[in-house]
Symmetry: D2
Subunit: 338 residues, 4 copies
């Protein structure tokens, strides 16, 4: 940590700043410039991270030097990690994984039928929501336990492991009975109680980036899960909120290489929610693979016109079937399988 | 709801669109333009809001006509409502209310001392966090029940009602035992499980705008609370995330008159979190009163340098004491008390 | 300037960094932390600002210490400056100034009539566009020299000085013949050729913030004008682009106190363009005065339904007349005249 | 265009709205819903686009139906167009084109040397700035005519056509003497005078998206150029401004398929400026090709540490040489050459 003083800081103020740092058991090293003094803080920065040194008289700015996350950092492992979901490896040198399924679980028949179709196309994980976070209290909120049961049925029929969202810590034991991977939705990325709870689960967790969260905030939320002992975390880019109205969100693909440089965790991209416009989901999926994503999550629905949630963004199974060979070709072009 | 067709939509596609609307028990009225057909949907729009008509062939755009919220809408009451917190009225023609206190509860002594100081300056509600949502799992997370107890002690000493955040539905019964008003933080604005839970509480709820939530999404989240039966909801603008780095968030004061036009609920402004820079909190507080806010929430700390959370944005009690007469003068200038 | 090295930076890399700084004639001071080395650069920072030290091997981050602007900085004068427009003083302790008029000049009669009405209400500057920057090439682009002539006629009839936009350096001599103050529009805030040109004008310049410009970029653009010798610059906040769709832009009133702390230049707020919604212009004008603005620019049109440009945001003269006493009351409440 | 009335609109208000539309020579068709009236406007929408119908009493919203651009729209041609720059075809089914070179022209030797290196790697267009738009007036502003001369020298040595920025209409004749394609920078995307001027040039124009311009505003700015008669316009995505601080801008790759659906113009992506971080330029270039870009513009510098402008984002020639085969592999994977 580096403390930069204001141009007119007095000697007394500087002494107080230094004294405060020493109180925390840290050393200082002082550099005097032509108009400012720089106080370098030497020692474990965590000890003072909490302290509002910035509020002290004479301080102009505080520059943190160490990253605020540890367990999630690439340095902490020195290599990319892989996460296993019932035998499907994601991350590291593993093949790019397709995760497909409808936005919301609607019926047993729907889930089994879609699971078969997406498996045939090459998907290796099945997604579907039994609990749906909806902006309006009057919108369809999901089938809850029935939905979970239909997901499990679809897994039993096809062998595809199941990923599904948990929105409330009180539902976690129930969700754990049916799911193979937990999803934390974008709106709950900073629901810290929930993060701690899934941090104590035995299941892997796919953590979606909040639509106005910075990349570092996403990593900090992953740190909440990791620090409770659950090391199987997947990070998911799913679009950020910007001024552009043509897409529901702006898919930030630069998050992929940045997350892979800063953390060892696998990175998933969800182009469906990221753009919210069915017509450009294929191009954005191809781009996500090219950018280095370890997995791609794509919404698929057999009759989007009848979908109970977000139908206008889901691909038809036939479109997915045509897209997969192109995704594979792009993956191969950058030296990966799919 | 209005359905606009694409320029090349065929008669068959238009018939299918119309048939689909009729399936939902609604009527249609068709206007043929020189290049497009407009299908007006007549009847209760909620019946089709869920349905992805936009995904049908030949549809270019869907324009909703009715607002998606009901209980929160100004029209539903036809007048501004007031919310009472232990005898303090907020909203309508009531005086502008000051809500002050530290970011985090740190000790019994701190709370009682600050409560006395802010009461003397004119505050009528005491704020303080016992549960702190923190980006990092390694940051101070709040004193929990001890913090709630200290808040209640400060209320007993000063008579100031207490507002405090609840982050987890499981903590709600405990928080209800101590608090006079519940706060839902910005990061939980779309934690729908929590919203429903506080919608069943007997306490009023201050709902903070998520820092990337639109004004309408804030109203929709209020609708979650109202639809569970709790009609005592305060809406709070606390800054949105933009590209500007000079302030932590951008305080969107235009939300004040817009919320007051669209809803009957009282509107609170939190300039402290909205800008995150102590030096400009006074000016933004004055501006918030001028813009029509019903209450202003200001963080105050006796020694911000030692604060356990967000010290650099809290006002000193002496600064607050000097600010209040100016806030009152601005309130008077627009015809209100404070 | 402070150079922070990467954790694994080698001694050789550090030596190269230091050598590079010395090449520019600057001194260094080195602080060694437990995992990083901090190189403080001592001497005039401008000498290296251009140099991409950040691209050197072993460098993690560069922290500038000095502000990138000089002539605009508050420190350069040590006091707020005032700008005179034909005898009307703006800034410093001067009364808050109202600048009113239509978006676009439409006819001689219109300008003279509106000029009289706004003068009666208390406006002291007349605004109106003869050159209109329009998103579409098919929209009304302004009356050009005729428009300038009508503005000058209105000034002659009422004595109100005239402010009008210049969009092209080639039009500057013509605009200078008629106007009393030049306006640089938001879309041209970084049209550096134009900034330099108006920097050589004898007229004061009102510089509008680009709708995605940071506060510091606005100051840097002012610096372009100042560095050519024109010291009469007014800075104008007029809304930034965010994700919120309820207003055309988000008026960033926190820019007012920040600009006044960082620079000595007067600060103007344009709530009309900042929100684009007539209904909330009065509240935002009141808030702007409370936040400390030196002048408020409000669009007024006698029959907004017939306006050739932006009619839905202009106030009726009668609304302005009712607003001004309230603006004055708020100005008085914070110790200023209007 | 569709006019939606407020729930309480009176018959008199509706009659006035209809009368106003008729004044403009257009027909109306009225649909009465349960709480609102919808006035469909039949006829050429341009006639009323300018008119602020939204400001009329009783109007809740105006929904434009026709797109505001014509010449740029895909429909106007019914096929993708290609732009030729000295024999290099861009767009349609042409091979993906690489445009490479330094940010700023620094010397004759530099330009010739880089031109040779990038040509060897596969670039087919040479870029380099002789006029540099810089935030600070104290930064290097470019070599002007000398820079243009060095670019022309590099073209003569290598045969690579040259693209370079023009910032001021007064410099256009000079730039036209040396360049093969004009570039309009992001900061000038709404410098409408300059757009009209290059619309009269015989050279093709690469138009960069302003960093806070919507996709439709970019198309409208292209329409300015097209409407002056210059049909050779390339659209360039180069990042938009968001809250994310890890990258200088957020590269909006979804703009690629959207622009290609809405317009017939070729689409270029500039990942270098879009992210501003050298380390992730390769991944974002691969993603841009996968998303369907017709050309990729990449900054290359032989010794980025010494670059006069933006050195930290330029690739070394050796990195480019290794990247090109991977770009080609991705292009082939989606059925294109490079």
């Amino acid at each position: 940590m580096i403390i930069i003083t204001q141009p007119g800081a007095t000697e007394e103020q500087i002494e107080q700043i230094v004294a405060r740092v020493h109180e925390f058991g840290l050393e200082t090293q002082i550099s005097r410039g032509s108009s400012r003094v720089i106080v370098g803080v030497i020692g474990p920065e965590e000890l003072v991270r909490e302290k509002p040194l910035a509020a002290m008289a004479g301080v102009e700015a505080i520059v943190p030097v160490l990253k605020p996350y540890k367990l999630a950092s690439y340095q902490s492992r020195g290599a990319a990690s892989t996460v296993e979901i019932c035998g499907v490896s994601i991350g590291g040198d593993s093949a790019v994984t397709l995760m497909c399924g409808p936005c919301a679980v609607e019926s047993r028949e729907q889930m089994v039928s879609i699971a078969r179709l997406v498996k045939e196309s090459g998907a290796r994980i099945l997604r579907g929501g039994a609990f749906k976070p909806r902006t309006s209290p009057y919108s369809f909120q999901g089938l809850r336990e029935d939905g979970l049961r239909f997901l499990a049925d679809a897994r039993n029929e096809t062998g595809l492991p199941v990923i599904t969202e948990v929105m409330d810590a009180r539902d976690l034991p129930m969700v754990e009975r049916y799911a193979d991977c937990l999803q934390i939705g974008a709106r709950n990325m900073q629901n810290f109680s929930l993060l701690k709870e899934v941090g104590r689960s035995h299941l892997p967790v796919l953590l979606k980036r909040g639509f106005s969260a910075t990349i570092n905030e996403l990593i900090m939320s992953a740190e909440y899960i990791l620090s409770e002992g659950n090391m199987n975390v997947l990070l998911c880019e799913r679009g950020i909120r910007t001024f552009e109205p043509s897409t529901r969100y702006t898919l930030d693909l630069s998050a992929v290489p940045i997350l892979k440089a800063r953390t060892h965790l696998p990175v998933v991209v969800d182009p469906t929610h990221g753009v919210g416009v069915r017509e450009i989901v294929p191009q954005m999926s191809l781009a996500a693979v090219a950018a280095g994503a370890d997995a791609i999550m794509i919404e698929v629905h057999e009759s989007p016109d009848d979908a109970k949630s977000d139908g206008e963004q889901a691909l038809m199974p036939a479109t997915l079937a045509k897209l997969v060979p192109r995704l594979r070709a792009v993956a191969n072009a950058i030296g990966r399988d799919l």
